[in-house]
Subunit: 141 residues, 2 copies
DNA sequence: TGATATTGCTATTGCCAATAGCATTTCTTA
DNA sequence: TAAGAAATGCTATTGGCAATAGCAATATCA
């Protein structure tokens, strides 16, 4: 059985990412969270009062799609909103959010470490530069 | 605005993949195809009479999810089925499928080339080995 | 001030992956 | 060879995520 796809970077990139997400989401399930929730929590943690729109720009998620994501975390009191001006509100981690995030981060860290270890040692230094170069260039189109 | 996510390989992998897929799907739209359609077409082209289940294994798509995918391509007469034994059927490209695939491949090739060119030259030789290592290791869990 | 941009939102659509379960056929092995 | 196990294709459903179009309120800028 011939696999003509494993020589296509774009295809392998997508497959690897899908498999990695499935794996990560499996680990996050016990918190009732998805990877997108976690990415927002991490982002808000280091950027308190970040606007929902700005978060979307960093996460590459459109405004309209941020709504249910933020709403879910609000419902669970993991984040809160605080008015910045008449139309925008800053996002903040609640105490509950901070506490949960500490546990969640252990899962994320483990996942990231496994990912690093899964490639040959000599290639590891190139992992992040390559991925970031890909992202930067595609996103800026 | 601090971006704590760009140092997480798993996160950047997913973002890069999502952006890459969006880009590719934009190019495929004029054929009324999605990336998943194309991956199956390419796979069947080099593996005539490949079983739907085996295709799923290579594509990392579950049996149940192969059904609508195959159905769509059958409806458009891009592939056909031929009995292999009492329960399985082999997939084949039709003439129409082969013809369309030739055009589609130009778009895919262009996309893949852009991807390669988007990373610094010295990193290019590492691109496929890294991605394939990631995929292999995650998938085999 | 008037035009333009931004923010957050509603509503909808489509793709994709996961899960559970079913009938039929094939394989295995005792 | 008969019985249990596995494989194949499928139905049906669910949930997550991204894309699009459009709206009201607010802010910005010429």
């Amino acid at each position: 059985m011939i696999d003509p796809l494993s020589s296509l970077p774009g295809y392998v990139l997508s497959r690897a990412a899908a498999a990695s997400l499935t794996e990560l989401n499996r680990g996050l399930a016990k918190f009732g969270l998805r990877h997108s929730d976690v990415s927002l929590l991490i982002l808000v943690e280091v950027n308190p009062k970040l606007t929902q729109s700005d978060a979307g720009k960093l996460l590459d998620i459109q405004r309209a799609n941020m709504v249910p994501l933020v709403a879910r975390l609000l419902d669970r009191s993991l984040i809160s909103k605080e008015p910045v001006d008449g139309r925008s509100q800053g996002l903040l981690l609640t105490g509950k959010g901070k506490k949960l995030l500490r546990e969640v981060k252990a899962v994320v860290d483990h996942h990231e470490r496994e990912l690093e270890l899964s490639i040959p040692e000599r290639l590891r230094p190139h992992l992040l530069p390559i991925l970031n170069a890909l992202w930067d260039s595609i996103r800026s189109k």
